[in-house]
């Protein structure tokens, strides 16, 4: 008979500007598992937390977008390495959140890790694939390159707590953007653990800012924030989508609309999500001796 050791429970916090903090509002909300059991409290971010997250993302943007594609690729690959080390923790948390077990949950976590690897490999290929040398009718060298759009607000998928989140976050980062992510409202815990991975990886602070809380409360502030350049509505509550899209028009944000239903994230992605958050820049220069 050995005494049962009491586990040390984790406090789930927001991740903003490279630091873990409680909501400035002091609010939190209980998170329950798929079978209704209490799992933990998550911080309930406020509009001010969203504002701070956007500032942090903007501040991190020049460094991240200015890093070499090779460097970004290695940094994102490193995320996969660290996730691998926490595989059991992710299995447990995804399992608790999504109510899946066994091979199914393993495949979800493995796919999430592999997705980082897939997108890490894209960083130094986006410009090759999406850029062009333009054969203009004149004595000019003209080329087009994709550049990151800027600060992207991501409303993460509501169902797929980890794989879905990685599937929307990784392409945004791979393209050189910085992100403010609103995690799945009811299944936020794997996202916070992912933030802990990011914090200990080489992803610079502020490149990813993770908010937990009410998507409906936070998303209008992000959609209207003038310093947000694009918004991914994938996880937006259906009744809010049209209004969020309207709000985003206030500063001509790029909007990636929500699919009618949450996609099957286990399928191999294509480059649609990379293309959604880049701007094509065309540069002309004369050719003359």
């Amino acid at each position: 008979m050995s005494e049962q050791r009491v586990a040390v429970a984790k406090t789930y916090k927001l991740y903003v500007g490279g630091a873990f903090s409680r909501s400035e509002s002091g609010r939190s909300y209980p998170v329950t598992g798929a079978r209704g059991e209490f799992l933990a409290h998550a911080a309930q971010a406020s509009r001010k937390d969203a504002r701070d997250a956007v500032s942090a993302a903007r501040k991190a943007f020049p460094g991240w977008s200015g890093a070499t594609a090779y460097n970004r690729g290695q940094v994102l690959y490193r995320v996969a390495e660290l996730m691998e080390g926490r595989r059991d923790q992710f299995l447990a948390e995804v399992s608790a959140a999504e109510g899946t077990n066994g091979r199914r949950v393993q495949s979800l976590v493995d796919a999430a890790i592999d997705r980082w690897v897939w997108y890490a490999g894209w960083t130094d290929k986006i410009a090759t694939v999406l850029g062009s040398a333009n054969p203009v009718a004149g004595p000019y060298f003209c080329f087009s390159v994709p550049e990151p759009t800027g600060v992207v607000a991501i409303l993460a998928p509501q169902s797929s707590s980890l794989l879905g989140l990685v599937s929307v976050l990784a392409p945004v980062l791979a393209a050189g953007n910085t992100a403010v992510v609103v995690a799945s409202q009811d299944r936020p815990l794997p996202a916070v653990t992912l933030a802990e991975v990011l914090a200990t990886s080489d992803v610079p602070g502020g490149v990813v800012n993770l908010l937990t809380g009410r998507t409906a409360e936070l998303s209008p502030w992000l959609a209207s924030h003038a310093d947000v350049n694009a918004i991914d509505l994938t996880g937006a509550p259906a009744p809010l989508r049209t209004e969020l899209e309207r709000t985003a028009a206030g500063t001509v944000k790029r909007v990636l609309r929500a699919p009618a239903s949450e996609p099957d994230w286990t399928r191999t992605p294509d480059i649609t999500r990379l293309r959604a958050f880049v701007e094509t820049k065309t540069v002309w220069h004369p050719m003359g001796a």
Partner: protein
């Protein structure tokens, strides 16, 4: 022969008859010119204020008819036609534009007020080039990087501005058709004529009925078109203000949207620039098409160490610009497109005076009639002034100075817009450094206002999204 006298160029007007102007123009729906049931509008020559023609406009019912015609054409034929066949229609259109180039140029100049030199040498040749380029894409879409069999979207509703009436129609129609879409296009209220002649060219090319429909009218017709549930794709070029309204209107409908909006481009001149060419680039940047250019280089950022020298050369050069009859082959700067636009330019220029900028106006003579505004350069402009922040869309340049490359970048990017930018320096590495940092969709280095159908064009930030031209431009018209 040692006289030193003023050499006056005799007027060299292009013949107005070439335009084959008709007293009345009708909208083009389902392959036919038909009477619109909207209130007809009168289109005016801005250089003389004379009415050129009466133009039938579309009512909501007419827009509906046009969208239905486009839908039929798409579903029954155009969307399924092999790309190689679609291509041949586009090649035909390109050739017909070339054949009727002079007529189109004169008509464009009459209706828009732009100098014949520009409509002849820039607008119309680019129109033909745009159709020619996109014709070639029609059967090669599988190679464009959007998958093995990218599909068209369906019916495209397109709304275009008055500054490049025919060229904007080509920018919209050519890629849409190449990708297998059909279109309903609304030309600008003040410049509907050339698009209707393009419709005639579509007829002459035997383009199947309903593939291209042209519905003239004012903003209400545009709104009707954008909001029509039968439209799958909306493309708009115009002001940021209207672009935002359209983005709002399209929200929640699932219609694919691309916007090409306003700009306040910085043209950055370093002290090691090729100064004579920089001056030409500055002039071309802001006085091309009377400054009615969304990507105009309306903010000149000049390094302090050459500011005085450059400004002096610039003023002298601007003084040689010939402002007047747009049909005169020697005219450099034509008429402002409308009384409203002229009033807006005047109002903004007056704000420059009021806010303490120093105004210099070209001493050129202006015609007695018509809407004209002399080329104007404001110096001692500060970032905070309205003339440095708002799009003037006229021949008015705001000159600011900077000291270091970082300051130049900071000032250039200090605007919600992001359409274009210019860099002038002989130092290659600085060009690339700047080009990377300027938040603009098009960066011209040691040149300005160059356009080509193979070169993607479009904005960052509030200058819109989506690209026109080149491989990147196809995305706007494919279901990908």
């Amino acid at each position: 022969m040692t006289r030193e006298q003023v050499w006056e160029y005799a007027p060299a007007p292009e013949s107005r008859d070439v335009a084959r102007l008709k007293p009345a123009y009708r909208m083009f729906v389902d392959g036919e010119f038909v009477d619109g049931t909207g209130e007809p509008l009168k289109t005016v020559n801005p250089a003389t204020e004379e009415v050129l023609a009466e133009v039938g406009t579309a009512s909501p019912a007419d827009v509906d008819r046009a969208v239905r015609a486009a839908r039929r054409a798409h579903d029954r034929m155009w969307g399924r036609m092999p790309g190689a066949e679609r291509a041949k229609y586009l090649f035909r259109i390109a050739r017909l534009v070339q054949e009727r180039a002079r007529e189109l140029a004169v008509l464009e100049t009459l209706d828009n007020g732009k100098p014949i030199r520009e409509s002849r040498d820039v607008d119309v040749p680019l129109v033909a080039a745009h159709f020619f380029h996109h014709a070639g894409w029609a059967d090669k879409l599988a190679y464009a990087g959007y998958g093995p069999d990218p599909r068209p979207l369906g019916v495209a509703g397109q709304v275009i501005p008055w500054n490049f009436p025919l060229l904007m129609a080509a920018w919209k129609i050519a890629p849409a058709l190449a990708c297998g879409n059909t279109v309903v296009l609304k030309p600008a209220e003040t410049t509907p004529l050339s698009a209707l002649v393009l419709a005639e060219i579509c007829q002459q090319a035997d383009l199947p009925p309903g593939v291209v429909n042209i519905v003239p009218g004012a903003g209400d017709v545009g709104a009707e078109l954008v909001n029509h549930p039968g439209v799958n794709k909306v493309a708009f070029t115009g002001s940021t203000e209207v672009g935002k309204l359209i983005q709002r209107a399209v929200a929640g409908t699932g219609k694919k949207l691309t916007l090409e909006l306003g700009g306040k481009a910085a043209n950055v001149v370093f002290d090691d620039a090729p100064l004579d060419q920089a001056v030409e680039g500055i002039v071309n940047g802001i006085f091309f098409n009377q400054g009615h250019v969304c990507c105009a280089g309306s903010r000149l950022l000049v390094q302090e160490s050459v500011a005085d020298e450059l400004l002096e050369t610039l003023r002298r050069r601007v003084s040689t610009l010939r402002v007047g009859d747009p049909l005169d082959k020697n005219t450099d700067v034509g008429a402002i497109n409308s009384a409203e636009q002229l009033a807006r330019i005047r109002e903004l220029a007056e704000s420059g005076d009021a806010e303490g900028a120093r105004r210099w106006t070209s001493p050129c003579p202006l015609p007695d009639k018509g809407f004209f505004f002399a080329p104007t350069v404001f110096s001692e402009v500060q970032q905070s002034m309205r003339i440095a922040r708002e799009e003037i869309f006229g021949p008015v340049l705001a000159v600011l100075t900077f000291r270091t490359p970082d300051e130049a970048v900071a000032k250039a990017n200090n605007t919600p817009y992001g359409l274009s930018a210019g860099i002038w320096t002989e130092k290659g590495s600085r060009i690339l450094w700047m080009a990377q940092r300027l938040r603009a969709g098009v960066v011209w280095a040691n040149t300005f206002n160059r356009f080509d159908p193979s070169a993607p064009f479009g904005g960052y930030r509030e200058s819109g999204f989506g690209r026109e031209g080149g491989r990147a431009g196809l995305e706007a018209y494919l279901d990908v």
